[in-house]
């Protein structure tokens, strides 16, 4: 009886281990599996899967498995990185590129230096976007999108009010005057709610929020104050824009789609110019003090996990995937692809406004990424923007206080 029980236990253990024998030889013959993740929802994930499929079809050395994480992306990813189970490649938006300073991203500068393909050429990327991956004396990924903020305007409201359409030659004063002229009981001229980023206005007025050497936050210079004050004078001001209560009631972009706002600043890829029943035009944002239409670029990159077991193959996958994405997402972050033909081929629905979008591209800028960027941004919002928008103190006082706090973060 006792002996038979021992035999039974041993048999169970052997049966449990059987799959190992079956798996190991089978895997040895397979190409290397690389994993990639991003935050894509159902539709975007299906489109991305097509790019992955194309890359897989052209490779025998590796095959990419795509694991979308549409919810709570960054928490999941951090947990995977901490647990050593993160995918080989993943997407990061520019705010999270600060992870490069924590050693979790692979520095690909050596690979790029030995690669003569266009997609691997740093010179072919817009500098304002490339700065989000060129960090800490290395290169930590390849940008896959550079979406400039452009000005969407409702032609019908402009026509009804007898105001001329926006052009790239508009100054901020022209813009403000138009926003006020377009405001009636039925509609507002413009809208702000913290978007677009105040950084864009500060840059346009000649100021900076983080210096080029990443050591200071000169938000109390006259130029920076002028840009911030311009923003503060418009936001929630019923002379030109919806109040906070109206925004809470009617939504933000929804008001533009409902014909309740004449001008809206949105990303170039947004669907605001194809809303049924709206006659919408697109223009670059007004030009700033140096005569350029400086605008904000929303950008993101595909990066490689520093702990990948296959860095060479992961790099190859990165290059091939990025090439595919540059023919899918608009606007491509590459100078050589900043053409109407390329943009329309990627997104035919943008044909009517392709030229206006491309006019904005040369002047777009992304954030300067510093270590502890999330903390820096939180202080910038809580101690400068939010109290400024609510008139809690003057821009000069708030900027002076906030600068101290921001530079504490930069200096550590």
């Amino acid at each position: 009886m006792k002996k038979s029980r021992h035999v039974l236990i041993l048999t169970l253990l052997v049966v449990a281990l059987l799959p190992l024998g079956a798996i190991v030889p089978a895997v040895a013959q397979e190409p290397v599996t690389l994993r990639i993740t991003n935050w894509a929802g159902v539709e975007e994930a299906a489109e991305f899967q097509q790019i992955v499929d194309e890359v897989n079809a052209n490779n025998t050395e590796f095959q990419i498995v795509y694991e979308p994480k549409p919810d709570d992306y960054y928490t999941q990813l951090q947990t995977q990185l901490a647990g050593g189970t993160a995918p080989d490649l993943f997407w990061l938006d520019q705010d999270h590129m600060a992870w490069a300073y924590d050693g979790v991203l692979l520095d690909i500068s050596e690979y790029l230096a030995n690669d003569d393909r266009d997609v691997a050429n740093p010179e072919d990327y817009f500098p304002g976007v490339w700065q989000t991956v060129a960090l800490n004396d290395g290169v930590f990924g390849l940008p896959w999108i550079a979406q400039p903020v452009v000005l969407y305007y409702n032609r019908d409201i402009f026509d009804a009010m007898g105001v001329e359409y926006p052009t790239a030659d508009w100054t901020w004063d022209d813009f403000k005057a138009a926003a006020e002229a377009l405001t009636t009981e039925e509609h507002y001229g413009f809208t702000l709610n913290g978007w677009p980023p105040i950084h864009m206005f500060i840059w346009s007025f000649g100021g900076e929020v983080i210096s080029e050497d990443l050591q200071t936050s000169p938000i109390d210079t006259p130029e920076a104050i002028a840009g911030a004050q311009f923003y503060a004078d418009m936001i929630y001001n019923p002379v030109c824009c919806p109040t906070e209560e109206v925004l809470a009631e009617e939504g933000f972009a929804e008001m533009f789609k409902a014909g309740r706002v004449a001008m809206f600043m949105g990303g170039a890829a947004d669907d605001l110019d194809r809303v049924e029943g709206l006659n919408v035009g697109v223009s670059p944002v007004p030009k700033g003090v140096n005569g350029e239409n400086v605008t904000f670029a929303w950008t993101a990159a595909t990066v490689i996990n520093a702990k990948t077991e296959h860095p060479d193959l992961a790099y190859e996958a990165l290059i091939q995937l990025t090439e595919g994405i540059h023919n899918w997402k608009i606007v491509s972050p590459r100078v050589s692809q900043a053409t109407v033909e390329h943009l329309v081929a990627s997104e035919p629905r943008k044909e009517a406004n392709a030229e206006a979008i491309l006019a904005a591209v040369p002047y777009m800028r992304a954030f300067r990424i510093v270590p502890r960027f999330a903390e820096w941004s939180q202080i910038f919002w809580e101690d400068f923007q939010d109290p400024l928008f609510h008139g809690e103190d003057t821009a000069e006082n708030l900027a002076a206080d906030a600068r101290i706090l921001l530079e504490d973060v930069l200096g550590d």
Binding site: L20, G103, D408
Partner: protein, 389 residues
């Protein structure tokens, strides 16, 4: 090869680990059994010990180890993205950072941030005192600064939430339990209905309330719209108006409290002997007197249980805020604050210290409730053992 190149190939390492764990546990169980038997333990108890091994191992790995690790991390500087934590020159830095307060005179024309200064000692990063209040004393203005005013604000918000929501929830649950204790037609349906909140996922309930409280399209403001029109006022911004954040969370919290509390109190009501009410009625007691002198004392163990569990739940509220964004300036509940420190700002060491402080606060308040129980909780069994009624 197109499409998915092989989920099986991707996940086989996980499968291997799963099998290895199962085999390892099997060997451990078998070894323990043999050891116990060799030590002279009889078959039955040896089998019992053997069968609980997986659960003990799980408890050690998934509960004891994280608790111990978080205590260790609370004395270090650690970002979840780093390979290992960095030691702190002052091991108590994280605790001091959370609680340091300074009061200084504010000279005329000076800004508080200029006079408050930074935390002294060897700190891994610059920690600045920030204004949390001001007062005048003997003709001079003073400013109160804290190194983490947001944490202190979070503690204050959480305590107010617990103090207000727990009694309200318990009173509401008691009222519903008394109603459900009546012998009315279809009482089973009502009991099921009132228990539903307890089985619904907290995340779904949070989103539901977020929609209910939406300023423009929410049901609550729609119902209140005649009053708004009558008083010529704007609809209330339930989760957006600073002064309404706490009331909104309290109203939402009551929903979840009703379900489980009501069932427990209902069970307590069913256990109260009828003869007590009959005897009181013979003595001429009215409804309120019976409620005050029979129902409440006899129900006090159940009320005590609810008080303890609800207080702990209120102090550790998390899910609701995770789904309902509010500004940090308006106050974040402590648990949400801790989560953000750990995952958004990369300060896992500091978050661990905050977690331990929250744990101590919860333990302290729970002990206080336990100490108070002697004065108001009636244990019939204890009374009988002591020779009482």
């Amino acid at each position: 090869m197109t499409g998915d190149p092989g989920a099986f190939a991707t996940y086989y390492p996980t499968l291997l680990r799963y099998v290895a764990v199962a085999v390892g546990l099997g060997i451990l169980m078998y070894g323990l059994y043999r050891l116990l038997r060799l030590a002279g333990v009889k078959h039955e108890p040896a089998t019992g010990f053997t069968l609980v091994v997986p659960w003990i191992v799980g408890f050690l790995i998934f509960v004891t180890f994280p608790i111990g690790l978080s205590l260790y991390l609370s004395f270090t500087e650690y970002n979840i993205l780093w390979d290992r934590p960095k030691p702190l020159a002052d091991p108590l830095f994280n605790y001091k950072r959370a609680l340091s307060i300074r009061i200084v005179e504010l000279p005329e024309g000076e800004r508080p941030i200029q006079v408050l200064g930074t935390m002294e000692g060897e700190t891994p990063e610059t920690v600045r005192y920030r204004e949390i209040g001001r007062f005048n004393w003997r003709g001079k203005e003073y400013v109160i600064g804290a190194t983490d005013g947001y944490f202190l604000k979070g503690v204050w918000l959480t305590l107010r939430y617990a103090v207000l929501s727990v009694p309200l929830g318990m009173a509401g649950a008691l009222g519903v339990a008394l109603l459900l204790n009546q012998n009315v037609k279809g009482v089973g349906f009502w009991r099921t209905l009132y228990y539903l909140p307890a089985v619904l996922p907290a995340a779904a309930v949070a989103l539901l309330w977020y929609w209910l409280f939406a300023p423009s399209s929410g049901l609550v403001n729609w119902l209140l719209s005649p009053i708004y029109r009558l008083l010529d006022m704007q609809p209330l911004g339930w989760f957006t108006d600073k002064s309404l954040v706490l009331p909104s969370f309290i109203i939402m919290g009551l929903w979840g409290i009703f379900g489980a509390n009501t069932v427990i109190l209902l069970a307590g009501l069913k256990n109260i002997p009828k003869d007590l009410y009959e005897a009181a009625a013979i003595d001429g007691a009215g409804t309120f007197t019976k409620f005050r002198h029979i129902t409440i004392p006899m129900l006090s163990p159940a009320l005590f249980y609810n008080l303890v569990t609800n207080t702990i739940a209120a102090l550790t509220i998390f899910t609701q805020q995770a789904f309902i964004p509010t500004d940090r300036q308006d106050g974040w509940f402590v648990n949400w604050f801790i989560y953000n420190e750990a995952f958004n700002f990369g300060r896992m060491g500091y978050a661990s210290a905050l977690g331990w402080m929250l744990a101590l606060l919860v333990i302290l308040l729970t002990l206080l409730i336990f100490r108070s129980s002697a004065a108001w909780v009636f244990y019939e069994g204890a009374r009988q053992e002591a020779g009482g009624a």
